[in-house]
């Protein structure tokens, strides 16, 4: 934290001091319920209520959305979200539940929505009172996102939506969905339009949310079915047929490469949360016996752990270097690597953790003898969600190869 503090503007200095002071007195206590690994795995209303209360208090204090204009619920600050994020993580707070709203919906609505819509939706998004979800993927449109078929048919000032969205995290709690819809079947990219849809209000009246069960056994994401759902044209973002361009704003921010920094907290130490990082991996290696010797003394495991330490440090330093223009040859080269690297590093850390655990890696959450409560097998399985969702690692490598290296576009 302190390393960034040295570069602060006067506004940031003052704001950092304010955040630190506020967090000292207002950081939430130990959660009354077991928290999931990430906002995308929130399963119960108890979990959600606790996390929403945290987001609301942080928003009311001005720590969330603070770089947005006052008119849309922000505080009109300059590059202060980064400061708030650093202080919130430094204070080891819980994570923010409205993660899709903050990271993807907010910048998209802000850049492409009509003024009245922004002013109405964004304050409750920032406060976490309205949870948001994202309707992009479909059974037939995964990596090839532009082939979405869920259709919006024009009826005067209204649109009639029919179709099927999948992998919709948080849809079971969401008031609102950002959604990519087909409005013209003749044109693949130019036939797409982008809307926000009030799904909670329409449950049972054109919208059905059904949980999908993950490889881990957890719920948390869903499929959402639309049957003649009527929405107002004022919920459309940007022009008709510009849905793909609007979606690029969403994806840019999802990949951490957007102009507006996403509000972010976390770091709370809790028996019930588990972080897939190399300090936990080293701790596991120290405390696990491998054929009678500490796993941390096995030279091959040491080498593999160090490979991961180096990759993890490299990612952290990439993010630091991304803020130093003189040390980059291409403006988005580092930022576009973030998602790919973070997800693959986490996957490989979890894979090595299972090898360290050895036979005990077979024990899952329900087993009293499971090391670390069975969290490592769960983290390993969950890591595939990260390498698949939001553009698979293969799609990420295409994006990097084409946009950054300038290689010919693959089909």
């Amino acid at each position: 934290m302190a390393e960034s503090a040295r570069q602060d503007t006067p506004e940031q200095v003052e704001f950092r001091q304010y955040c630190r002071e506020w967090l000292k007195h207002n950081k939430p206590g130990e959660p009354p319920v077991r928290l999931p690994l990430s906002p995308l795995e929130i399963m119960t209303t108890d979990q959600l209520t606790y996390l929403q209360a945290w987001q609301k208090s942080a928003y009311d204090a001005g720590l969330i959305g603070c770089d947005y204009p006052v008119a849309v619920g922000g505080r009109g600050r300059s590059d202060c979200q980064r400061v708030a994020n650093e202080e919130m993580v430094g204070a080891r707070t819980p994570f923010l539940p409205n993660v899709i709203g903050l990271g993807m919906a907010a910048p998209t609505v802000f850049y492409h929505g009509q003024t009245a819509l922004k002013e109405r939706l964004l304050p409750r998004l920032f406060s976490g009172e309205d949870i948001w979800c994202q309707g992009f993927s479909e059974p037939g449109a995964g990596s090839d996102l532009a082939s979405v078929q869920t259709f919006a048919e024009r009826k005067g000032d209204k649109w009639l939506i029919n179709g099927h969205k999948v992998w919709t995290s948080l849809a079971h709690f969401a008031e609102w969905m950002i959604i990519l819809l087909r409005t013209d079947r003749a044109h693949k990219y130019d036939g797409l339009s982008y809307f926000v849809v009030p799904i909670r209000a329409a449950l049972g009246k054109g919208v059905t949310v059904r949980p999908l069960i993950k490889i881990t056994g957890e719920t948390g994401f869903n499929e959402v079915l639309f049957e003649n759902l009527e929405v107002d044209d004022s919920y459309r973002l940007d022009e008709l047929g510009k849905g793909w361009q609007v979606a690029m704003t969403t994806l840019l921010h999802e990949r951490g490469a957007g102009e507006l920094k996403t509000p972010h907290s976390g770091g709370m130490k809790s028996k019930s949360t588990h972080s897939t990082n190399t300090s936990n991996l080293i701790e596991l290696a120290r405390t696990t016996l491998r054929n009678g010797q500490p796993a941390a003394e096995d030279p091959l495991l040491r080498d593999r752990i160090m490979q991961l330490v180096i990759r993890e440090a490299g990612l952290g330093q990439n993010q630091r270097r991304a803020r130093v223009p003189a040390l980059q040859d291409h403006p988005s080269r580092l930022l576009l690597q973030n998602k790919l690297l973070a997800s693959e590093i986490a996957q490989d850390i979890a894979a090595v953790a299972l090898e360290i655990e050895g036979a005990s890696a077979s024990l899952y959450l329900g087993d009293d003898n499971a090391p670390a409560g069975g969290q490592w097998p769960m983290a390993y399985m969950n890591s595939y969600g990260m390498t698949i969702a939001a553009g698979t690692s293969e799609v990420q490598r295409n994006i990097l190869g084409e946009r950054v290296l300038g290689l010919a576009k693959s089909k």
Partner: protein, 375 residues
């Protein structure tokens, strides 16, 4: 002490890096390099030691050899991050010269306290030097030397001396009784024989150096501490060189797979080529970020310098290996020939990969720091 968020890479450093890139781009294209160093393709050739002394003199005149010499000894006293920026550009150009050798020597001398000042002053005046600190096994441990000193005379052989035929002086580590001391010797002094090694790398020269009753000036009697203190800077700068060279390999290969057509498409269209090239880029970026992180630690957070420099060189060695392999492979048949320039960098990188510790060795040292030694 904490590190500044921008690695301490300020305006001066950015200017130096940009001017170095411009300097090499204007004066030293890759075909010039190829003409200069690759005239003899015979596998049994001796290393030619061809280099452009006029261009080198310009670099000396620009002050590049005295960048790391502290101001108190008459140098420019630039931070390591700025020097790393210059060395990254040097690696990108693969320019044969004793800059890296002289910088390495500078960091060892600077670690000798006031005992190093007189010698540093020579470097500030334009004298070039290399380290003669490695034994016949090529050990990466600073304590290992095959040279002895008794009654002020050096005897023995120093191995794997980099750019030995291009430098004026050697900083020699020798066992003097129960201590390891450092000595300053002219390469043309009586009793010094520089025996060139026939090496694969065409962009550097290397030699073993025999010392027969060589009268030598002792720089310090506590040489081991100085060497150990300087090694992180040496690893970091070599990693910076590798970063620049790897970026050349990447961009050159990207250009080639963008033009070469097979199966009615440029090669880069195929994901079997595209994705590994992205992985090369990812490794380069990891390496580059870790280089400036380590350099910044050397400038502002010395307690973490060893750890972070191990990370940088481990990453660099892996980057050198992977970028080199892919550069030749994706140039296909032409990449396997002497006439294609990629072999120059391939060979330089394989040399750099194994110089001053390979990836596995650096990771083993890192594990000792982060996990603890194995009993």
């Amino acid at each position: 002490m904490t590190q500044p968020d921008n690695f301490g890479f300020g305006e001066e450093a950015a200017l130096l890096k940009a001017s170095a890139r411009k300097f090499f781009a204007e004066h030293f294209a890759t075909d010039t390099l190829h003409k200069m160093v690759a005239s003899d393709h015979s596998p049994e050739r001796m290393t030619a030691c061809a280099w452009d002394r006029k261009l080198w003199q310009q670099m000396v005149d620009l002050g590049w050899t005295s960048l790391a010499v502290p101001e108190s000894a008459g140098g420019l006293g630039m931070p390591v991050v700025a020097v790393a920026g210059l060395v990254e550009e040097l690696g990108r150009a693969a320019f044969p010269c004793p800059l890296l050798a002289t910088l390495n020597t500078t960091y060892v001398l600077a670690a000798c306290g006031s005992e190093g000042d007189a010698t540093l002053a020579e470097i500030a005046e334009g004298i070039t030097a290399s380290l003669a600190i490695t034994n016949s096994q090529g050990s990466w441990a600073a304590a290992h030397t095959d040279v002895q000193c008794a009654q002020g005379k050096l005897n023995g052989t120093a191995w794997f001396v980099q750019d030995a035929r291009k430098v004026d002086r050697l900083l020699v580590s020798a066992q003097a009784g129960d201590r390891l001391a450092l000595y300053w010797v002219a390469t043309d002094a009586a009793g010094v024989t520089v025996v060139p090694d026939a090496i694969v790398d065409l962009t550097r020269d290397q030699a073993h150096v025999r010392f027969d009753n060589v009268q030598a000036r002792e720089v310090t009697g506590v040489g081991l501490a100085a060497l150990q203190q300087a090694m992180p800077a040496i690893w970091t700068l070599l990693a910076a060189d590798i970063t620049g060279a790897a970026e050349w390999q990447l961009q050159t290969t990207v250009d080639y797979v963008g033009t070469r057509q097979q199966f009615e498409h440029p090669l880069g269209y195929f994901q079997a080529v595209k994705h590994p090239l992205v992985d090369v880029m990812v490794l380069i970026d990891q390496c580059k970020s870790l280089v400036y992180n380590a350099a910044c630690a050397l400038d502002t957070e010395p307690a973490r310098a060893v750890e972070l420099a191990h990370m940088a060189k481990a990453s660099a060695s892996d980057t050198a290996a992977f970028a080199s392999g892919r550069s030749v492979q994706y140039h296909g048949g032409i990449g396997f020939t002497w006439e294609c320039f990629v072999h120059l960098y391939f060979k330089r990188q394989k040399h750099s990969q194994l110089l001053w510790g390979d990836a596995a060795w650096h990771r083993a040292q890192l594990a000792n720091l982060l996990i603890g030694n194995v009993n």
